[in-house]
């Protein structure tokens, strides 16, 4: 059984939750876009359901709540370290089905690949996920191809239609407030996309041999190594360690981890100046094969969830979907022919 709520009723539910949780959702950051007088849609705290953006995909993903762009791990003095504090409240995250599938990728990296990550685990344990039903596909989405268009493991799912919110809520903690403020009950099944405009086919014969093909050379000139694709990606998790001190010659400071990208020049840089992938094409190859080949070899499922954010954000109009559909088959053909 689900609940029917008006904007005001849902706002009241948000208020009831606010003692224990902050609500995070895609919202508009006016005037902060790449070009003058353009906006960015990214994740922020919301108190009013009307601030949640439903009619577009967010430019950046929810991942910044679980793996902050810049996260203080601990504070230094000269002789000791002091762990940083966590937010007192948990988080309720409004996200699309593809993004909830991305959480499974983050969980793999931070909870399974090596020991459990203390900082991720602490934040993750206090998160509830609310799926935002997609009643249509967005430009460049390919969730159906990646099998991420349907989610069932949510704490709640919301459909937004004609100014009303229809909520399915298996989670009892969240359901209590919804029940109090609901203006009616009804059966709710989360909306989901059955067909995207874009279809993606990862070649069945794809192997790491494709690393030697010439398809990557094209990106040497086109890609400017800005890393936006990875920062917008909900499944990219790489970070670097960074120390800062509060004064130039002081003895107190902090160690942080900050989001980084395999597209950046310092990503493989070791002491002495050694660097493993200099060319943009090599970095593109490293990233693309992780998304559609290497991660699956290790984790058992594909990394890419088909959200389409990387294609949308690239200033050079480089397309992952084009790379998968056109370039990968070409590259496999080339290396197989060369091998014979």
């Amino acid at each position: 059984m689900g609940y029917q709520l008006s904007r005001r009723a849902l706002a009241d539910a948000f208020k009831s939750w606010s003692g224990t949780y902050d609500v995070y959702a895609p919202t508009v950051f006016a005037g902060t876009g790449r070009f003058s007088e353009t906006d960015v849609i990214r994740y922020g705290k919301v108190t009013d359901p009307a601030d949640i953006v439903w009619d577009a995909r967010s430019d950046y993903s929810f991942k910044e709540i679980l793996i902050p762009v810049c996260q203080v791990l601990f504070y230094f003095t000269e002789h000791s370290v002091q762990e940083s504090e966590f937010p007192k409240k948990g988080a309720i995250i409004f996200l699309r089905s593809c993004d909830l599938h991305a959480v499974k990728r983050l969980d793999y990296m931070f909870l399974q690949n090596g020991p459990e990550d203390y900082y991720y685990k602490t934040l993750r344990d206090k998160v509830k996920f609310v799926v935002m039903g997609c009643d249509h596909t967005f430009d460049g989405c390919f969730c159906v191809s990646m099998g991420t268009n349907v989610s069932t493991n949510y704490d709640a799912a919301v459909n937004f239609k004609d100014g009303m919110y229809y909520v399915d809520c298996p989670d009892e903690t969240l359901a209590a407030a919804l029940k109090n403020h609901a203006e009616g009950t009804c059966d709710v099944t989360a909306d989901h996309v059955e067909k995207d405009d874009v279809e993606v086919h990862i070649p069945d014969n794809l192997t790491s041999a494709i690393a030697k093909s010439s398809i990557w050379d094209e990106y040497d000139k086109r890609c400017i190594k800005c890393g936006r694709c990875t920062l917008a990606c909900p499944t990219c998790t790489c970070w670097s360690m960074q120390d800062i001190f509060y004064t130039e010659n002081g003895k107190a400071g902090e160690r942080r981890r900050v989001q980084t990208s395999c597209m950046f020049d310092d990503y493989t840089l070791v002491a002495g100046g050694g660097c493993f992938r200099q060319k943009a094409g090599e970095r593109m190859r490293f990233k693309v094969l992780h998304k559609v080949l290497d991660f699956k070899k290790r984790a058992g499922f594909q990394m890419c969830v088909g959200c389409g954010r990387c294609d949308a954000i690239c200033p050079e109009y480089i397309s992952l979907t084009h790379c998968i559909n056109e370039k990968l088959p070409q590259g496999m053909k080339e290396v197989l022919e060369n091998g014979q």
């Binding site: 002789h79 203390y118 030697k212 790489c238 360690m241 120390d243 001190f245 981890r257 002491a271």
Partner: protein
Amino acid sequence: MVNNEYLPFRSEILEVIKHAELEYTFRMSYDRGDEHPVKPGQFFEISIPKYGEAPISVSGITDHSLDFTIRRVGSLTDEIFENYVGDYFFMRGPYGNGFDVNMFKGKEIILVAGGSGLSPIHGVIDYFADHMDECKKLTVIVGFKSPDDILFKEDQKRWAEKGISLITTVDRAPEGYTGHVGMVTKYIPDLTFEDMPNAISVVVGPPPMIKFSILELKKIGFDVENIWLSESRKMCCGLGKCGHCRIGDIYICQDGPVFKYTKISSMID
């Protein structure tokens, strides 16, 4: 409760051994051996607040100390070299798989190292120096740039006395130098075996040295399945989280840094 792996502990510098202008060994106090035993080939993230962390191989292990042989090549290592006995570093670890000495037992062992590549296998050599009866034969071929760059001179003397067949060579030497001169690869064709199919080899050093050493080993008919490597990459965590050390579906910090050559030879960075 999940353990916070990122919090470092403080460790005192017990001794500084100066091998060369740019290479010192720092002997650090370590009393966590019971709970966190350390194997040769494993590494620690060593840090100085403000200058950051770097993964450094353990080059010596005792009950109460660990050795780290550090080459002065970056901003952190510059700062490390400003410290002396009685000062402290922050550390966390051990990380990585390291070498299991059991895999060498009863075999003819060939260790080929270039420069500070000797660090990860230093503990293996130490072990067999004290237990020569546990292997058939141990040959170490180690190369340095010049006589001034030779590391672990005292240890080398001890190893030779214990019966290890040791070839220390330098790329270039001034006139009158009486030791071996030439690349490590020059000495591989001269190796003799009682039972080559069961011999085991480890190659550690700069990538070109590894490449050509393996070519030479192949030439003499050495089974590539019995060759092992120790890899190094940028690593910000040592825990499989930061992503920097990934090659294909492998994380050097989690699955290595010690690898069978055949496991990693086809991977492309």
